[in-house]
């Protein structure tokens, strides 16, 4: 299937043109219910006899738990039980198993779950929390990621060496580093020796929060035979099942995960165990009662996860003509108190830390470091935004210093079809250059801007998690309609619609005849996760394979009825007919009826896992089944008196391979750019002594609809040889290049380079004032404004 040698298209241009459903933008499967307000979310789900669970949280960032007295809470009328960490000798975690269900022995961050209460109603549960007394002994906390990374720093996890972890994860025992990711190519010292100029910069990013409108929630029921059912808004039911079963040391079949039909936003935040852990802890103690835990908005900010804050030192060696010969990147990701997805975020950050560029000498080190702060985890871009902020900001620093056009500098180094990636993989199906060019063309890159205005561009790449599998079943029913059984979750990204389109196209039935079931691990087959922009590609392939399997069975049944060879049969609009003879059509329902009477059904199955070149034993392969690529441009206006930044317009071009649902792809671009805009200009989880200071939509400055400027979404299509109809993922690319594009535009407008996100007016004004002072001081020789890079070309 896959080879390293370039494109061999499975879909020819002819078949792509003949598509009837794929590539159109039919009404989304969830649109009508969502508009009516009748779409079902976890909050709407109630189970008979259900209790309400609430969580007591740590008030200290780092403290030993000396005692917990819950006796008064247990006696409160309406309370059905209190559970503490000491009762649950289990740890969970995806790639590094380090997190208790409730804190045991010590708390590692302010907001960590210490005990949980189940009561008949929410008010009683909240009241009971106030009756629990916990005695702590404070321990020295670590808030600074660079301090925490030093040898000899106090340890957040003394037992790091004993934790289980996936292959390819490299914790450094005796330190707070839970993964050290390394990438080497060429000889970095040799590269710097060959360079005429060496650029060294440090860039930082803050914690960003997902701000899903729907908070985390779960209902858990466990019976006396250790059979556990969990209704949840987790993004990946099979991954969730595995994590719970492994932690509780029970077989997979003892755990049933039922995902809510709709999840109100994910952006990476709904993986792992959050409300799931608290609900499961309560259910583990209080058997035979379903217990629901819904996070508050404050718990979302303080006790779920956010994007890793980061510090990146980037050093780049360049020849006078602008050729980049060496790049060294050292990134510290602040993981907070637990590893969560941090070790693999570090990996993905590192894989793309040098940017999507041909550079002969590269050295990358990414450290994922424990501190006593809110846990960081997966968030849209998965290490990409931290990396891109550094490498794409520095590209413009280099261009400005050498008097080069930032656009030209990027195009000169961007990967092309057939190039060797710094990981050693040969690049194929690469739409990066086209993305950059499309943005430049749409934003009229060379058009001079008036004083105070500027434009910037940035591009990006990101790996797709590889190799992981996805499976699907399809049931063709007696009336010719189709049910898809797939564990891909609908988190608002539109997967349900896209999978229905793929199934309808492949079988040759109308879209309305296809339905997709909500995930339930008891019925819907394995899928590794709804993450990493992998669903359209992986699950799309699985559904397509399952439908192809069902279709071949239908055609076999139809062949004798139509007195034709199987190979000559086609299906269109739900009717089977010999090629070129649509008048001899026989509906699928009839075909099934003739063979099976009223019991007609055909079952198809599909399992897709990318075929890997023979290579290492690593958990994540070096080879990526595809790379996500894209580019973004921004035009801004900066007020020199106030430092205020007005983003006038943003252009975003991203490679979707083949857009199954173009309007949905545009929605992904719009939403992603809004997330990027927030990180660029205003979003920052602020903490004092480890406590989150702004855990609300009032105090955390996520952009509102009024703050988002006009966005021009541009879909680039470089078909993937193995993608369903050529499709690749694209949702997680869209936010990544936005902050550097905006920062580069600010530099173009007023010559100010900010290294620390978010770029707020106070930071801009401070630099503007400093520059004005410097200019006033050095007025004697002819004062030179920094050259506006690439201007007027």
């Amino acid at each position: 299937m896959l080879n390293d040698k370039g494109i061999t298209l499975i879909e020819t241009a002819d078949t792509l043109e003949a598509l009837e459903i794929v590539g159109k933008s039919p009404q989304r499967a969830d649109a009508r219910d969502k508009v009516r307000g009748s779409a079902v979310y976890l909050e709407d789900m109630k189970v008979n006899n259900m209790l309400c669970g609430k969580v007591l949280r740590s008030r200290y960032p780092h403290a030993r738990i000396l005692s917990i007295d819950a006796s008064a809470a247990e006696k409160l009328p309406g309370v059905r039980g209190v559970v503490t960490g000491a009762e649950l000798p289990f740890l969970h975690g995806e790639s590094l198993v380090d997190e208790p269900f409730l804190a045991r022995d010590k708390v590692r961050y302010t907001g960590e779950a210490v005990a949980a209460v189940a009561a008949l109603d929410e008010a009683t549960a909240e009241e009971a929390l106030e009756l629990i007394t916990v005695q702590y002994q404070e321990l020295p906390p670590l808030f600074d990621v660079m301090e925490a990374a030093k040898p000899g720093a106090p340890l957040v996890h003394e037992a790091l060496a004993s934790y289980q972890h996936a292959p390819g994860i490299n914790p450094i025992h005796g330190t707070n580093i839970c993964n050290h990711f390394k990438l080497r190519r060429g000889d970095i010292e040799e590269g710097f020796a060959q360079s005429d100029c060496v650029f060294e910069d440090t860039f930082t990013t803050p914690m960003q929060q997902h701000c899903s409108l729907e908070p985390h929630g779960s209902i858990c029921l466990m019976n006396h035979d250790d059979k556990l059912t969990l209704w949840t808004n987790n993004d990946s039911p099979h991954r969730c099942r595995k994590e719970i079963a492994s932690a509780l040391k029970i077989p997979l079949t003892n755990v049933r995960i039922i995902t809510a039909p709709n999840i109100g936003g994910n952006f990476g935040g709904k993986g792992g165990l959050k409300a799931e852990a608290s609900a499961a802890a309560l259910a583990w103690k209080i058997r035979n009662r379903p217990i629901k835990v819904m996070y508050t908005r404050e718990e979302e900010f303080c006790s779920s996860i956010g994007r890793h804050p980061s510090v990146t030192r980037i050093k780049t060696g360049v020849r006078k003509d602008g050729t980049i010969v060496a790049r060294q990147v050292e990134t510290y990701l602040d993981s907070g108190a637990y590893a969560e997805k941090g070790p693999t975020v570090a990996r993905f950050c590192g894989l793309s830390a040098a940017g999507p560029y041909k550079i002969p000498h590269v050295k990358v080190d990414v450290y994922c470091v424990y501190t006593n702060k809110t846990v960081a985890g997966a968030m849209r871009g998965y290490g990409g935004p931290q990396g891109a902020w550094a490498y794409e900001s520095q590209m413009d620093v280099i261009a400005a210093k050498l008097g080069l056009d930032p656009l030209e500098l990027r195009l000169r180094h961007a990967y092309d079809e057939g190039d060797i990636h710094i990981t050693g993989q040969q690049i194929y199906s690469e739409g990066l250059k086209e993305c950059i060019e499309k943005v430049a063309e749409n934003m009229e890159w060379s058009r001079p801007r008036p004083e105070g205005r500027g434009r910037g561009i940035a591009c990006m790449e990101r790996a797709v998690k590889t190799p992981f599998g996805s499976a699907a079943f399809v049931k063709v029913n007696e009336d010719g309609t189709v049910d898809i059984l797939s564990s891909t979750t609908e988190v608002g990204q539109g997967s349900e619609t896209v999978l229905r389109q793929i199934a309808a196209e492949e079988l040759g039935v109308r879209l309305e005849q296809v339905r997709k079931a909500a995930p339930d691990t008891a019925y819907t087959p394995f899928d590794s996760s709804t993450t990493s922009s992998r669903s359209t590609f992986h699950m799309g392939n699985a559904v397509k394979m399952a439908v192809a399997d069902a279709k071949s069975q239908i055609l076999k049944l139809a062949a004798p009825l139509l007195e034709a060879n199987v190979d000559d049969l086609r299906i269109k609009d739900g009717n089977v007919h010999p090629q070129g003879q649509p008048e001899r059509a026989l509906p699928i329902a009839k075909v099934l009826q003739r063979h099976y009477g009223p019991s007609g059904t055909v079952l198809g199955r599909g399992y897709y896992i990318p075929e890997m070149p023979a290579e290492s034993e690593e958990y994540y392969s070096r080879f990526m089944v595809h790379w996500l690529v894209g580019a973004c441009g921004a035009e801004v206006e900066v007020n020199r008196k106030t430092g205020q930044i007005k983003v006038l317009k943003i252009w975003g071009a991203y490679d979707a391979g083949k857009a199954i649902h173009p309007v949905n792809c545009e929605g992904q671009i719009q939403g992603g750019i809004a997330i990027g805009l927030g990180l660029a200009l205003s979003e920052e989880v602020m903490s004092k002594d480890g406590a989150v200071m702004n855990p609300s939509f009032l105090s955390y400055k996520v952009p509102t609809a009024l703050d988002v400027p006009q966005i021009v979404p541009i879909i680039v299509e470089h078909p993937h040889p193995d993608g369903p109809f050529g499709a690749k993922g694209m949702g997680e690319t869209t936010n990544v290049p936005v902050p550097p594009a905006i920062a580069n535009a600010i530099y173009d407008a007023v010559g100010v380079r900010i290294h620390n996100l978010p770029v707020t007016p106070d930071k801009v004004l401070e630099v503007l004032k400093l520059k004005a002072q410097e200019q006033a001081g050095s007025r004697a020789p002819s004062p030179r404004r920094p050259a506006a890079p690439g201007r007027g070309k």
Binding site: A123, T642, S682, L706, T760, D762, L765
Partner: protein, 333 residues
């Protein structure tokens, strides 16, 4: 977070409401739109045993205007109704600016003029839920004896962040307070105590009933500018209101000038120095002098989320100059 339990009363006259509030003393709290109070209850910042709903009190929702008496706004007029009123739109556009800069559309629909004026002061250490606050010692406002903004201070340094107050102060508004001792009319600035723990100078049993704004004179212009990070939702990090009236004739002499600020002290500031401009021609030098005076009077603290205190202070002069120029422009045209 659930609301705590409380008694609820909905008196049908102003007198009844005042008597009820007086008899219950500190235990009772009036509620108008509830947009400020209900969050304080959910966050366990305030603990009233009884809420006295003013929704059923008649005559508190009127907007009246006459050239002789000017504008009279009932305390229960919602911010959106104020902004939609044709007279207000025509004669007091600064009130429309200020009302529509509050919170969100939904909050403007529920929030009232009286409630907006009487809102509690804000502090990032105080305006959080009990769950999040537990990691810090209780501050002055919660009955403790520490201020997290100025750790050595014996007083509370929360900021007054109402948007309507500076606009109304610049317009020279007064307020009527109903109470056990009968109705009392005061200049608006006397509503604000400057005490962070108890920022509104209403005694138990006293209610803000009406706001009066003098008739809009000809050749006047008024502007409210708000420093914020987003186009909606945010409290001001600085708010500047300027109201100018020009003398007849071409020379542009100032007849009256008023400047008020919000979010840079424990109470809204009505800058006395602005009055000195009366009778003088507004030159660049005078605008700068006024801006300098405002800068000296402003006292932003690290008590609000977002931009640095240093930046907020440095914006005082910039915003005052912008506001004066815009007010002048609108007075001329």
């Amino acid at each position: 977070m659930k609301l705590p339990k409380f008694e609820y009363a909905a008196p049908e006259s102003l007198g009844q409401a005042c008597r009820l509030l007086e008899s219950r003393g500190e235990e009772a709290h009036p509620i108008a739109g509830g947009t400020d109070l209900l969050m304080a209850l959910k966050n366990r910042q305030k603990f009233p045993k009884m809420l006295v709903d003013l929704g059923a009190v008649p005559n508190l929702s009127r907007i009246e205007y006459s050239d002789a008496d000017g504008l009279r706004i009932g305390a229960m007029v919602s911010l959106r109704r104020l902004a939609a009123n044709p007279i207000v739109r025509e004669k007091y556009p600064i009130l429309v600016q200020a009302a529509l800069s509050v919170g969100t559309v939904q909050l403007q629909a529920m929030g009232t003029v009286g409630g907006n004026l009487c809102q509690d002061t804000c502090c990032m250490y105080f305006n959080r839920s009990a769950m999040v606050r537990q990691s810090l010692e209780p501050c002055h406002k919660l009955g403790g004896c520490i201020c997290h903004v100025v750790s050595s201070s014996e007083e509370c340094w929360a900021a007054y962040t109402g948007d309507l107050a500076p606009a109304l102060l610049a317009l020279g508004a007064s307020v009527s307070m109903a109470g056990p001792g009968g109705e009392q009319r005061l200049p608006l600035q006397e509503l604000f105590s400057g005490d962070g723990k108890r920022p509104i100078a209403l005694r138990p049993g006293q209610l803000l009933a009406e706001i009066q704004v003098p008739a809009a004179p000809p050749r006047s212009g008024a502007v409210y500018l708000k420093l914020r990070q987003r186009e909606t939702l945010d409290y001001p990090l600085l708010g500047v209101a300027v109201h100018l009236t020009l003398e007849r004739g071409e020379n542009g002499h100032c007849k009256t000038a008023a400047l008020a600020m919000t979010a840079v002290d424990k109470a809204p500031i009505l800058l006395q120095e602005a009055g000195k401009l009366a009778g003088r021609k507004l030159t660049e030098a005078q605008i700068r002098e006024l801006a300098r005076a405002a800068y000296k009077r402003a006292h932003p603290m690290k008590n609000l989320y977002g931009l640095t205190t240093k930046y907020r202070l440095s914006m005082v002069e910039v915003y005052v100059e912008m506001a004066v120029r815009q007010a002048l422009e609108s007075a001329i045209h």
